[in-house]
Amino acid sequence: MSAGVSRTLALRIGVLTLIVVFFQIGVVSEVPVFGVNAELCALLVAFVGLLCGSITGAVVGFAVGLFIDLALLQTLGLTSLIFTLIGYWCGRLRELRDPQAGLTPLLVGVSASALALVGYSLMEFMLGVDAPVSFQLLRVIVLGVVVNTIFALPMYALTRRALEGAMPEDPRRRRRRAYTTGGLSPLSKA
């Protein structure tokens, strides 16, 4: 984890992860919406990456994926691989673009869900599930993304609220301060 990630943040992420994973396994997986289940864990990993950066995102993604694979007796490494990439990608988005628009969490949630569902399907195909790409499968993936979109904003608010005060510094604020102190200002180089 990055140096900026404090012990408090790690603790909060750990507790939040456990709550979300058990809620996913115990409730969300049992209650289909439009015939599919929401994937809160993928959203959690994406938002932790978006709020805390790529390294934290990747580590949390790996840990959450491994926990799910162990708890559900699934193929070990499958979910952790996909979640690691989601967490890293969302973290890089924050570090490179630092999007501030209000709809950013929604778009990140949609992308992360699509990546999780398509990635999971592709991996399952590669591991030998005897099912070609069909309309039914595409329907399930599209509906899964739609359902996750509904949960994206509340999930982002929950993640932000849980990690508030312990998150690493906002990159935009950091840049602004650097200008005011002359650190990165082009004028200071003159």
Binding site: E30, V31, S54, A71, L73, L85, E124
Partner: protein, 318 residues
Amino acid sequence: MHDKTVRRRRALLGLLVVLSLLLLTAYFGEAPNGRLHSVQRDFLTVVSPIQDGANKALKPVRDLFSWFGNTLHAKSQLAQALKQTEKLRRELVAEQTEKRSYHELLALSHLDQLGVGSYRPVDATVIGKNPNVWYSTVVIDKGESAGVQRNDPVINEEGLVGKVVQAASDGALVELLTNSSMGVSARIGTSHATGLVQPKVGDPNDLLLGYLPSNTQANPGEWVVTSGTVTPGYPSLFPPGLLIGQVTSVNEESAYKSVNVHPVANLHDLDIVQVLTAAAGSRAANLSQLTVNLQAGQAASSAGAGNGEQLASTQVGG
């Protein structure tokens, strides 16, 4: 400083990806009693009480959400159920007469088919569900300590659900009928012809009863049940007569006939299930043990693909 951060970030990502791929490769390649599988079972033993507690605590929330969905479905199901009750009442009268003849014939022929009576049912609660698009496995709160073994059939009040594929001390993994590796020998209620029920390719929520002789009579609405052991050389793990689903359509495009089957058990909403465990020394237990041994032998020599059709059909064919 910046370069160092970039290098560290990339190294960590590479490490996690490689670790995931190593886990994936090792897990996929090892036998079901391998080291990673046993770590997974141990983890489940530790986590299952927490999962069970969380499951019970969150049941009201789950019920609340389910209530809305169930209410919407109930109205449409009522008319269908009334019509079906009338049909079943007529069938019951005919069946009772046939049943008497059947028992007389069994006694005359000294036939001894492995039935549900040979099993000891164990009630279990579903504490975890695979959230992927195939809905292929669930985790239950009963394991080896309750007598649950690999390959034990799993049912609920509606019909056949699947079979146990891994058992830890206080939990077990159940492979559902819709799992791509499942296969159950079955027959259409009124017919003597048997086939193999497998998930329908391209539609993970539907089943296909295939390999039926081309002259098999099949009509939409007929029930599909497990056939049990038909040929002694190819024993079935499932006792005969367990309800699997209802025929929705008939396909006749190949030399064999196949029918689409809608599973009666609602595999999306499993809560309580029953594991048909085999009493030690019974025929069911011996059969289950035989299958485990065959699968272990198959995994050990999986490098040589020519393992014989019998092993493959035993593993898939259930």
